[in-house]
C-alpha cells in the first residue's frame, strides 16, 4: 500500500498540484447491544476507506473510496475536482502554514490488545452492567447496554514527505436505565469510552457505570420541571465543560473566525474577567479528545484560547493558520478518511480558579445548580448558544433545595463571558462525548472546575 500511496501523491504533483495528502483506515468493528436482558444486536464489520485531498492553486479537491485498487483513479478525480472549481474562486490563494515533516509509526498506548478480548469477555461486560442496573430498584423497568470496539490501521501521508502510521484501538460502553412509576418514565445513562485500551473499562468497572445510570434515572422520577427566567447558575464541571465548548470553543475555531463569527477581529481583545482562562489541549494522557497528530500530520498541542479574559488564540488547521500568518495548533480533524478534515476541538476546559464550592453556593440567594450532561449548540455567527442538562437543584439562600430536570439555558457569548463570577479550585476534565460539526462527528472531552455564572436565561417549562 505504501508504494500505491506514494505513486498516487507523485502523480497529482506531476499534474501541477501544490499539495496533496492521503488518509486511509482499515478497521474492524464490533457492536453488541443488549435490550431488556437480550443481546439484540451482534455485529462485526470490516471497513476500509481512503481519501485524498489535493490543493490546486487556491482550491481543494477531495475524493474518497472503499476500494484501494481505485486509488490512482480517485487521486485523479480529486485533482480534477480541484481544477474544476478553480476558475470560480476569485483567484483566492490558499497558503498552508509550515510544519515539520515526519516519518513515524505511533506506538500503541494500551496494555491489553482489544483483539485479545473474546466475545464472551465482551458479553460479560454487558451482562454485568445489566445485572447491576436492574438490581438497583424494582422501579428500574428496562435497561439497555451497548458495547462497541474497533481496531484499525491508519496511514497519513502527504506530498511534503510526512508519513505517519498508527494502530488505534477504541471502545465505548453505554448503559441506559429506564425508571417507571405509574405513567411516568425517566431515562438516564452513564458511559465510558477510551482510546487507551480496555483496561480503562475494567478500571472504571461496568457495574459502577450501570449503578450510576440507574441511580440517576430513579432520582429523575422525583424531579420537577424547572422554573424559568434570568438567574445565577452554578455549573457542575461536566456541564461547565459543555458551556465552555459551546460558548467559547466553537467560536474560537479559526474557520468560523475567518468567516463571520462573534470572535472575528477580536484577537487580543479583553472579552471577559481576569478569571476567564480557557484551554484546548490534545496532549492530556488518556482523554477522549486526545491525539498525537491531527489529520494533517500536525502534532496535537495545548493552546490557550483565553488568558485572563483576553482572546489569545484561535484553534487552527494549516489552512486557517496560513491565512492568519500563524502556525497550526494541530486542530484539523476528520471523522474518517471519507471526510475532508476541518478545525475541531480536542479536550477543552476552563482553567481552575481559587473559589471553594461552599463559597460559590453562599453567594447565590436565588438560583439554580445544574448537572448531568445532555449537550448544547451554538450559532458562532450570531453568538447565541444553549446547553441542556439532565437535572439540577434550585438554590435558595446558598442551599440546594428542590430537584428539577430537563432544563436548558441560553445566552449570548459576549454577555456571558463577562458574567462568570466564580471559578472553582478543582479541575475535572471528564465530560466525554461526540461533537458534531458540518456533518462530521469528532470524539472530544470537556471540563473545568465548578463555575458560577450570573444572569443566565433558564428556559424552564414551569
Amino acid at each position: 500500500m505504501d508504494t500505491q500511496i506514494k505513486s498516487a501523491l507523485d502523480a497529482v504533483m506531476a499534474k501541477g498540484a501544490k499539495y496533496a495528502d492521503i488518509r486511509s483506515s482499515d478497521s474492524t468493528n464490533t457492536t453488541i447491544t443488549q435490550k431488556n436482558g437480550n443481546i439484540e444486536d451482534m455485529t462485526t464489520g470490516n471497513s476500509f476507506a481512503v481519501g485524498i485531498r489535493v490543493l490546486y492553486k487556491g482550491s481543494w479537491g477531495f475524493a474518497s473510496t472503499n476500494d484501494i485498487s481505485e486509488l490512482s483513479g480517485v487521486a485523479d478525480t480529486a485533482f480534477r475536482m480541484a481544477k474544476s472549481i478553480q476558475r470560480s474562486n476569485n483567484n483566492a490563494e490558499i497558503i498552508l502554514s509550515d510544519v515539520k515533516t515526519i516519518e513515524k509509526i505511533i506506538a500503541p498506548n494500551y496494555k491489553k490488545n482489544i483483539r485479545d478480548i473474546s466475545i464472551d469477555d465482551r458479553v460479560g461486560f454487558i451482562r454485568e452492567g445489566y445485572k447491576t442496573a436492574m438490581s438497583v430498584s424494582p422501579e428500574i423497568k428496562s435497561v439497555q447496554v451497548s458495547y462497541s470496539d474497533s481496531h484499525a490501521k491508519k496511514i497519513f501521508a502527504n506530498t511534503e514527505g510526512t508519513y505517519i502510521t498508527s494502530n488505534p484501538q477504541y471502545f465505548r460502553y453505554y448503559v441506559f436505565s429506564n425508571a417507571r412509576r405509574g405513567e411516568r418514565i425517566e431515562q438516564s445513562y452513564d458511559r465510558c469510552a477510551s482510546f487507551s485500551g480496555i483496561d480503562e473499562l475494567i478500571q472504571k468497572d461496568p457495574a459502577k457505570i450501570a449503578l450510576s445510570a440507574s441511580q440517576k434515572a430513579l432520582k429523575l422520577l422525583d424531579a420537577e420541571l424547572p422554573p424559568s427566567g434570568t438567574m445565577s447558575a452554578i455549573l457542575h464541571p461536566e456541564v461547565g465543560g459543555v458551556f465552555v465548548h459551546e460558548a467559547v470553543g466553537h467560536a474560537s475555531e479559526a474557520d468560523h473566525a475567518l468567516r463571520e463569527s462573534i470572535f472575528t477581529g477580536k484577537l487580543g481583545d479583553t472579552l471577559g474577567n481576569e478569571n476567564l482562562n480557557i484551554i484546548d489541549d490534545a496532549t492530556i494522557v488518556g482523554k477522549h479528545g486526545s491525539y498525537k497528530y491531527d489529520d494533517e500530520g500536525v502534532r496535537g498541542q495545548k493552546t490557550q484560547i483565553f488568558k485572563n479574559g483576553v482572546l489569545e488564540s484561535f484553534l487552527h488547521s494549516r489552512e486557517t493558520a496560513g491565512a492568519m500568518g500563524v502556525e497550526s495548533t494541530g486542530n484539523c480533524r476528520a471523522q474518517s478518511p471519507e471526510f475532508m478534515p476541518i478545525v475541531r476541538m480536542g479536550n477543552t476546559y476552563f482553567d481552575k480558579g481559587d473559589m471553594g464550592l461552599d463559597e460559590m453556593f453562599e453567594g447565590v440567594k436565588h438560583g439554580i445548580y445544574m448537572a448531568g450532561f445532555k449537550g448544547g449548540q451554538v450559532d458562532p455567527t450570531g453568538g447565541t448558544f444553549t446547553f441542556g442538562v439532565e437535572y439540577g437543584y434550585l438554590i435558595e439562600n446558598g442551599k440546594k433545595t428542590k430537584l428539577v430536570k430537563d432544563c436548558a439555558m441560553s445566552g449570548h457569548i459576549l454577555d456571558v463571558l463577562k458574567n462568570i463570577n466564580g471559578v472553582g479550585n478543582k479541575l475535572h476534565i471528564e465530560s466525554l462525548g461526540f461533537c458534531g460539526k458540518d456533518g462530521q462527528m469528532a470524539p472530544v472531552c470537556d471540563g473545568g472546575p465548578y463555575l458560577r455564572v450570573n444572569n443566565l436565561l433558564v428556559g424552564g417549562q414551569k
Binding site: 470490516n46 472503499n66 424559568s228 463571520e260 447565541t384 441542556g388 428556559g459
Partner: protein
Amino acid sequence: MIEEIENVMRKYRGVPLEFFGSNHKSMSVEMKTDKVSSSDLSVTKGIGVKAIVAGRAGFSYTTDIVHLDKAVKIAMINAKYSELKQDSFPEKQIIGAVKGLYDSQINDMGPEELVNNSVKVMEKLKEYNNGIKVNHSVFEAGTSDNFLVNSNGISYRSKATGMSGMIEAVYKNSSGGVNIGSATIKGFDVDYMVEKAARLAVSGVGRKSIKSAEQMVVIDSDVLESLFSNTFYSSINADMVQKGQSVLKDKIGQQIGASGLDMIDSGRIEGGLCSSEFDRDGTPSQDTSILSAGVLKSLIYNHVTAMREGNKSTGNASGGFGAMSSISPTNIILKYSDSMKFDKMISEIKDGIFIYEAMGMHTANHITGDFSLSINKGFKIVNGEIAYPVKNAMFAGNVFELLKNVSCFGDDVRQSGHLIAPTVVFKNQKIVG
C-alpha cells in the same frame, strides 16, 4: 455482485440469509465567504449480511466484496451469541414502482454544475440585498444504488438520486440559514432557499429582548421536523414502545392529539424525500395512519418488531449496509381540519412568536417529550404583523402538549426531512425572555 451472492447462498443452503448492498456516490461543492473553496466526490460501497441460526439473527458487514464468504461465516457465528429472535425473512411480494425518485441529470452531474449553482445562489442573494454575504454553503448531488437479496427469493434493486443544499447567508451580524433537499432537479427549489435565507438575514438585524409570557407560537416546518425527530418519532417507534421507552405504550386507540389532527406515514409519495419502493428489510413501502382525528392508530414497525406482536411490518425498516435494520418514519404527512392562507393566518395573531430556527433540539427528552429550546431566529408578532426579531428567548414545553394545542395550519406545505407540513400555529405556549 448478485452472482457472488447466489454462490454464497448455495454454499450455505439451509441457513436463511439476507444481503443488503449499497453503492453511494456523492458529489459536493462548498463555498465560504463568497468563494467556492472545495469540491468532493466520495464513493461508499459495502454489503451487510444477516444470518439466522436456530431462530436467532447475527449480522456482519464488509466494504470489500472479496470477503463476502467470511462475512457470512461471521454473521453465523454472531447469530450463536445473539438473542434476537427471528424465524424468517420477508417473503417475496410484488413491488410497485414509485415515481420521481431517480433523476439521471443528478446522477450525471459534474462539479461544474454544482459550482454554477453555488454561484447563482450567491448572485441572487446579492440581488436581494447587496450587503448579503454567503458565509457558508454546501450543495450536494448523490446517487444511491441499493439491492436486497434474501433466501426467500427476494432480489430487489433500487436506484435513487438526491440533491441537497445548505446555505448560511449573513447580513451585518445576522444570519439566515436554510436547508433544502429534493430527489429531482425539478423539485430543487433554489428560489425558496434564496428568498428565505435573504429575508431571515436582513430582517434579523436589530433584535430586541422580550418578556416571558404564554402566547401563540408559529412554527416553521423545519423546526417542527427537528422537534419531532428528537422526540415524537421515537415515541411511535415500535421497538422503543416494546422496550418500555415510550409514553405511547398501550395508547393505541386513545386521543393524544387535537381532534382535527391527522398524521400519515406514507412511503410511496411520488418524488418524496423519504420515499422508496421497499424498505431495508424488503417489505414494500406503504401508507400507515399514525393519528386520525387525534387518535393514535398505529406505531411504525420493521419486520422483527412486527413479528414480535404477530403483526405485519409497516415498511419502516431503515439503515445502511453497516447495521441491522432500525425503524424510522418515511414521509410524514401532517394535516389539520382548520387551515387558511399563510398571510391571513399571521394577520389573525394578536400576540405571538414566529420561530424559524431553534437550538438545542438534541437535548429534548425523547421519552417524555419535554423540551427547552433557544430561539435563534424568531420574530415577535404584534397585531397580525411580524414586528421585530427577538433576542435571548427560549421556547419551553412538551411535544405531546404541543400536539393537543394545535390552533391552525397554513397553506405553505413543503417537505422538510420526513415531515410534509405547512407552518403551524400552536396556542398557549411558553416563551421565556
